[in-house]
């Protein structure tokens, strides 16, 4: 088995004949914090949607632990250990924070079909175990005091934390973060970086899209730069930072950071 957890091989995705991802390849090592950067509309989120099964790429292969996974339903991808957050926060906003995080325990719960109707002792044990795990995550993300508050009533920063806690509740091997620092203030961003490092130290591989360059450059160990759906550069932060192609892409486009 290769030492790569996730491999993207020559993947292309089209929308109505327009190319969104163009022959993209990249490899994520186990235990890495891997960053993807690029101007808005470069196809970064589309790539995440391909990896998590929401889109099926027209061309190429997505390989997870040595097995091809493109075309597999999103819920099966999650069962494989790939969990994500969303750029446009997607919480179950009327439900409480605890219930939101509990959704991450879904794949770890072993309740049977009849447990929806009749509760058994083993089911109650399973239920308690999963709620306690939710409690742990609420402590870790400092969300405990909002346990019963509807997620939709909370601030942007808190919602981003709930999304991350929800994904981590599923004990993923790979955590995909789509612009985790968007909308956060400076303090929150620093704290987020610390949290991401802690999560990685617990053995979770991280793949993230982020526009906050300071954060990406200090946090990520390897970076791929995408523009117009194609890879234009890759390497360690110090290399990418000085790559003239990258500078050109950022200055050439009129996007702010």
């Amino acid at each position: 088995m290769s030492d790569y957890l996730l491999e993207i091989k020559d993947v292309s995705k089209f929308f109505h004949g327009l190319v969104a991802i163009d022959d993209l390849s990249m490899k994520v090592k186990k235990g890495q914090i891997y960053g993807i950067i690029g101007p808005n509309g470069a196809g970064k989120t589309t790539l995440f949607n391909c990896i998590t099964g929401l889109y099926t790429p027209e061309k190429g292969e997505i390989i997870w632990e040595g097995k091809k996974i493109n075309g597999i339903a999103p819920y099966k991808i999650a069962e494989l250990g790939i969990l994500r957050t969303f750029q446009t926060i997607r919480l179950f906003s009327e439900m409480s924070v605890a219930e939101n995080i509990m959704s991450g325990r879904h794949i770890k719960s072993n309740q049977k079909w009849y447990n929806g109707i009749i509760h058994t002792p083993s089911m109650k044990k399973d239920e308690k175990k999963n709620w306690l795990k939710v409690g742990e995550l609420m402590d870790f993300f400092e969300l405990s005091k909002y346990a019963t508050t509807p997620a939709g009533d909370l601030s942007y920063g808190l919602q981003r934390r709930i999304e991350m806690a929800r994904a981590l509740a599923a004990e993923p091997k790979l955590l995909i973060l789509d612009e985790p620092a968007a909308g956060l203030n400076e303090n929150e961003t620093i704290k987020l970086a610390q949290t991401i490092r802690k999560v990685r130290d617990q053995g979770v591989t991280i793949l993230m899209i982020e526009h906050d360059m300071d954060m990406v450059m200090s946090l990520c160990e390897y970076i791929t730069v995408i523009n117009f759906g194609a890879k234009i550069s890759e390497g360690e932060p110090s290399f990418v930072q000085d790559d003239p192609v990258v500078i050109e892409a950022y200055i050439g486009s009129d996007e702010d950071e």
Partner: protein
Amino acid sequence: MDIFLQQLINGLTVGSLYALVALGYTMVYGVMKLINFAHGDLVALSAFAGLTIYVEIFGEGKNSLFVVLSVFVITALIIAFVGVLLERLAYRPLRTAPRLSAVVSALGASLVIQNSIMLIWGPNMKIFPSNLFPSTIWTLHGVVFTFTQVMIMGISALLMVGLYIFINKTKMGTAIRATAIDQDAAKLMGINVNRVIMTIFIIGSALGAVAGLFIGINYRGITFDMGWMYGLNAFVAAIMGGIGNIPGAMLGGILLGLFNAMISGYISSEWAETFTFVLLVVILIFRPTGILGETIAEKV
């Protein structure tokens, strides 16, 4: 072959009526994402209102072009007004509410209109006079078709072409299409969404009113609850064509009318609805958003 041609004529007649009513459903759905369950009852109301206007204002027996035209125009205006009122009172307050709340409100509005008809005109069937249109009948190779049928097909076709031009060539039509795609963006572009919605209710209700009058003239017996049956068929037609899609509603209406006529002609009218819904489910299994409906990947 005779049965086939005869049912073709009958099917096109019913299909034209379904299409006219389906347009009302599809336009409202396109812009508001709401099934206007009260639309069928507006069609029924039109038949009753038209009958009263004809008998009370012009007097039975008069059938000059002026009288017939006046009945159609006055009725269409009244129904359009009721349609606008319906939107103002039952739907506008719910525009930001959960989608299903508006559905319940629409069901409530349907009950209100249906029972108002019953309270005003009574629970029994009313009969349309037979002489509003000339009773001319043509026979061609054993196939019979009436003046009324020709009028229904002809006028419906004209109205649909007119609507198509309006939607695609005028400024208001462009505003309607833009609002259907993205209401918020349309608002930002300076489109008056309230006016767009009002226009849609005026056009949809007026088309439904024409259909209601045709139903009265062609089938003659009208009942307070007939809107349900026509409404449901027309709604199914709109779904088959791809709800929200204007050519889809026309196509779906004609298709369903023909299909119904063929089933009645060759199999049995007792099972008409069963076949209708089997056809619908089969279409939806293969085309989950209808024949002309576009599958737009949800933005994530």
